[in-house]
């Protein structure tokens, strides 16, 4: 149910239909209660337009622009690289490798017949002598320290991200 005040505010704001507008205008003209309330709300409405806006600090604009500049400077190199350049480099390598593969295939003499082919024998150095228990222990110790360091790094990053 619309109260007198609600109807009058709608009338003042101009948010009611033309028919309602005309009906309320008639009521204001003939009804004393409506007329008095309308005058009161109109005065209040005029008063509300006098609300003062607060002034931000003097350096506000400068601070915003500084923040924008700092953000732009902090942008990772990754974000500044044009994707088209990356794609261009990738396309160049793919084309070069493809051309090389195609050329190699075309150059193969397929009519060579049955040739007995043997796997070439490679003389690899023996590494069993190098892997003494001391070396293995040292390697494992290094792995554990590295693992702990990386785990700590990960936890720190998570903590910073949560705080931000």
């Amino acid at each position: 149910m619309n109260s007198i005040e609600e109807k009058l505010w709608n009338y003042i704001d101009g948010t009611c239909t033309p028919a309602e507008q005309a009906a309320i205008a008639l009521l204001i003209e003939h009804d004393e209660v409506y007329r008095r309330k309308y005058g009161e709300l109109l005065a209040l409405n005029a008063e509300f337009t006098n609300i003062e806006l607060d002034e931000p600090p003097m350096a506000f604009t400068y601070n915003v622009l500084e923040q924008i500049r700092a953000e732009q400077a902090l942008k990772p190199l990754k974000a500044n690289i044009d994707n088209r350049i990356i794609k261009g480099i990738a396309a160049f390598f793919i084309l070069t490798i493809s051309a090389l593969v195609i050329y190699s295939i075309l150059m193969v003499n397929w009519s060579a017949g049955n040739i007995e082919w043997k796997m070439p024998q490679l003389n690899l150095p023996k590494v069993s002598g190098l892997l003494s228990s001391g070396v293995i222990k040292g390697f494992l110790f290094f792995d554990v320290v590295l693992g702990l360091y990386l785990f700590d790094h990960l936890l720190r990053r998570k903590k910073i991200a949560k705080a931000a």
Partner: protein
């Protein structure tokens, strides 16, 4: 006479990297954005942070602004979401309209007024004091309607609400503001007697 660039022209210039154009956009809107932020945060330091954040976010997303609404409406929607996020972070309950007791008294008194100077205690002063005592939602709707040159539809867009909800909120906010203003003036009259 020098041509005053429109908001859209300034946005286009800003998008080409002209920071002085964006500085002009900030200057045009900073008082209102700051006041609106203050309505939500009830604290000048927080309001400054929110307002600053809002302009940085707007700059970052300037390309997304399609010009279908006024720049100010778009900016106010950013203020609203930024302020809400800020308040959520600070764990301040702001959305309860019925819980009148939860409002936080503003820390700083309105600028330009000397509290000890009785002559300065005009109705306008009490009006601003009454607004500060309103709930953030009510204060924001009143400010957007009377000072932001926003229609009910635009306020609804900025606050992400239905236009009818905004209409009801505005009606209630005006009633509350009227009550608070009357209470403050009555109190002042008693003090003077």
């Amino acid at each position: 006479m020098q041509h005053k660039p429109t908001d859209i022209e300034l946005i286009e210039q800003s998008l080409t990297g002209d920071q002085s154009a964006y500085a002009e956009l900030i200057r045009r809107n900073q008082r209102f954005v700051f006041t609106l932020a203050l309505r939500f945060t009830k604290n000048r330091e927080d309001a400054e942070e929110v307002a600053q954040d809002c302009f940085v976010k707007a700059y970052r997303n300037l390309q997304a602004f399609q010009g279908q609404s006024k720049f100010s409406t778009w900016l106010y929607s950013i203020v609203y979401t930024t302020a809400m996020t800020h308040l959520r972070k600070k764990r301040i309950a702001t959305d309860s309209i019925d819980d009148e007791g939860t409002f936080i008294q503003i820390e700083n008194k309105p600028s330009g007024y000397d509290m000890n100077n009785v002559e300065n205690r005009s109705r306008s002063y009490y009006l601003n004091l009454a607004i500060e005592q309103l709930l953030p939602d009510d204060a924001a709707v009143i400010t957007l309607f009377y000072k932001g040159e926003q229609s009910l539809d635009e306020i609804a867009q900025a606050l992400n609400m239905e236009a009818n909800t905004v209409k009801v909120k505005l009606f209630r906010a005006r009633q509350r503001l009227k009550e608070k203003l009357e209470r403050l003036l009555k109190h002042e009259a008693k003090e003077l007697i």
